[in-house]
Symmetry: C2
Subunit: 462 residues, 2 copies
């Protein structure tokens, strides 16, 4: 594939210009004000895929459109479906960004590398484009791909993927493939790309606690009146036990022990816990006592409070006893845990711990199951070898995050999913100053050129 790799290298400048165009579209899916931008990002991808020779279209959903495209390949070769997402997280306070989040730029990094800056530079616009640029290099060099490729790019990954299940049901026949590919995950270190062998699930809830029939004055009722914020803090504090684990009855019932071969692969990564946490200004693993930091973030469930609000939060002071208090929180789930069951356990736990004169209401947010892939898959072996060809090594890792599409796609299509990642932990995804290393982009593209070649040689029946 030297010719294809050379083509990939020679098109970098044009590829960056394409990526910058895409980053400039502020496709924040969680905020209804950005619905038009999400549609614009989908249209941009349809145009780009069409230019590449694909039969591509944006298909409307109840929220943001799906991009679906097919790139032809020889009849008898495997058929892979690549998944990505064009939507991004809200940028948050622009004052916390060094540069405007939707004005991409290249800047030199501290260790001689180059950063691609902007919201979505890594998650998932930059990462997703490595695959499309690899396909483009194949087509430019050889006039076509050596295997059949379908591309599915959604616009709701950062806000719950609500449209996916009905979309999969409606387009099941068109989406059928032999394997699923995705690029929304991390590489292991600066010199080692990674294939993710497990992902965590998620169960997200918003909770509203209500007490009296009005806000009260602590100088009149303070002590005797139930305070909604006090109740909320008590309830949230009660979700974790003194050992750092989750203190909800039955919560851990469906967690399978970690596959020993996976545990061994993780141990071989020789993670220095102090260094791992030190990168973000921390030093002590905050989760369950007696679990390694990798097990905590990859294989064990967690509970995080993402937002709390209630009462008087403006400048100055007000001695109010608030009647309403709110929180957004989520549980990351181990493979095997069912988000619907966890939601039921959580809500029952909260109701059981509610004091007198307090009521509670729940709203669902993102839900999704975790996944674990068999370590013996030929797709995994072929991709690992291809990565080793480019980098000299490849790691098998877990992912602490959730790709809700994965279990849905796997169930709907009956195929395994290969999650190949070139992102680094320093990319600050979901935070201000998100970036992607230029080398992640270029070597990621080269890696996909090789993986496409390796997978094209596999027997379709696996």
């Amino acid at each position: 594939m030297k010719d294809v790799l050379a083509q990939a290298d020679s098109q970098t400048e044009a590829a960056l210009a394409r990526l910058f165009e895409l980053i400039r579209i502020p496709s924040v899916s969680t905020d209804p004000a950005h619905a038009g931008d999400c549609a614009a990002a989908a249209d941009w991808l349809v145009r780009d895929l069409t230019l590449m020779g694909a039969e591509a279209r944006a298909i409307p959903t109840l929220r943001h459109p799906m991009v679906l495209a097919h790139l032809p390949g020889p009849e008898t070769t495997p058929h892979v479906l690549f998944y990505g997402h064009y939507d991004v997280q809200p940028p948050g306070d622009p004052a916390l960004w060094s540069r405007p989040p939707f004005e991409p730029s290249l800047t030199p990094g501290p260790n001689g590398e180059t950063h691609i800056n902007g919201r979505g530079a890594s998650d998932d616009k930059g990462a997703m484009m490595t695959f499309l640029e690899a396909c483009r290099a194949w087509i430019a060099t050889r006039g076509g791909l050596p295997l059949r490729v379908s591309v599915l790019i959604e616009g709701e990954e950062e806000s719950g993927s609500a449209s996916l299940a009905p979309f999969l049901a409606e387009h099941a026949a068109e989406l059928r493939a032999d394997a699923i590919l995705a690029c929304d995950s991390d590489q292991w270190d600066a010199e080692t790309p990674a294939i993710t062998v497990s992902t965590r699930g998620i169960c997200s809830q918003e909770i509203t606690v209500t007490t009296a029939d009005r806000d009260l004055h602590s100088g009149i009722y303070g002590n005797a009146a139930r305070n909604a914020l006090t109740v909320l803090c008590d309830l949230l504090a009660g979700l974790r036990g003194p050992d750092g684990g989750i203190a909800i009855d039955g919560f851990h019932a469906d967690i399978a022990p970690l596959d020993p071969s996976v545990a061994a692969a993780w141990e071989r990564l020789h993670v220095d816990e102090a260094e791992f946490l030190g990168r973000v200004g921390l030093s002590h693993p905050a989760g369950e006592a007696g679990r390694s930091v990798l097990e905590q973030v990859w294989a064990r469930p967690s509970c995080d409070i993402h937002g709390v609000w209630g009462g008087y939060t403006e400048p100055g002071f007000k001695t109010v006893i608030p009647r309403e208090a709110h929180a957004k929180l989520s549980f990351r789930l181990a493979p095997g845990q069912d988000p619907d069951r966890i939601r039921a356990l959580f809500q029952a736990h909260i109701r059981a711990h509610l004091p007198p004169d307090a009521s509670v209401a729940f709203t669902d947010h993102t839900m999704g199951r975790g996944t674990a892939m068999p370590v013996s898959s030929p797709w995994l072996s072929a991709a690992t070898e291809a990565l080793e060809g480019e980098w000299g090594g490849a790691a098998l890792i877990g992912m602490g995050g959730t790709i809700p599409i994965l279990p849905m796609l796997k169930d709907a299509i009956g195929a395994e999913a290969l999650l190949v990642g070139f992102a680094s932990l320093g990319n600050r995804i979901h935070a201000p100053d998100e970036k992607y290393d230029l080398s992640s982009f270029t070597r990621g593209t080269r890696s996909w050129v090789r993986i496409i070649d390796a997978l094209s040689r596999l027997d379709r029946a696996r």
Copy 2:
């Protein structure tokens, strides 16, 4: 005093017009944007007192001006100092008000009474004006007051009274008096005014918890990374024990047992706990087990969380692990508890319970000591008899709130303070739809006419 009482009755329409002018000035002291309105309210009072014949002026402070006025009386009579405040609480969300908060109006109440509506209608503009209208009636009828009156009206009562201590020190000689009067408290029921024999103190704190050096993504760090909101909720939940009491070591050390004669007076009030809490949609006293609801709100310390904020609180969802979380809270204190000592105990408690990788910063807000007055005072007897003349009865009650000026004034001037109140619990002070009953306003004015008469007969030496 029939002539003075008749004059008070006949001037009601003009008195309401004056009160409405004052309510229309949005003198919210906690919000710097309203500094001009606070100055306007002070100027309005100076004009009104000057028209009444007072030597009156607004004296600048570092924040909002003090109104100081002297109304002459016969040389040998007692000299009383009346205290009030022209500032008001922030109105909060205007959508929660039935009428605009700063456009006062009269509306019929459900039981045949008439409501004076608006922010400050009760606390303290309406209540304070009952005393000034009584003075005006005396002067209109008799050409002067039967005792010497000074008036001190501050503009920072709702936001910490920071200017008071330096003001008292600077004007100590001019402020000297034989007794302090105030009208910023509740009557007992629709037919019974009250004199408040104790007030609670307050120690207010704002707390900021910081963890990592940036916001993190729960899909990468969830479980291992310390979450600032989780830490904050744990700390706030840990402030109260399972019995509803405050769980800070040494917190209760300086609380004297309740004076048995006061306890007896409160028992004679025959409070129905269910009815007391039922008025605001509650049913169970939330404070220390084994204490009556009156003891909980009048004599025991409390801890209320007034505001919490942190993380993602906009529509939608964001799986952020926030690095910063904030709360505003206060302790109401029993007489005898020193707010500075409580602050030190609170901060030490928080620091002792801080987990690894979390730091904390504190900001002070309102601070003030509680007070308890001797039940045997001749000022108290004289005022009680005067109230009984107008109403047929009067109650001795406690106040769960704080008047930070009281211990300061008492210390600075060496005089006792008589807190006479005509407000009702239904007045929704500090909340939307604040009101004052028209009868509180008119009978309050008549009551002060009588109290002025009764106190003028006392021996100055007490």
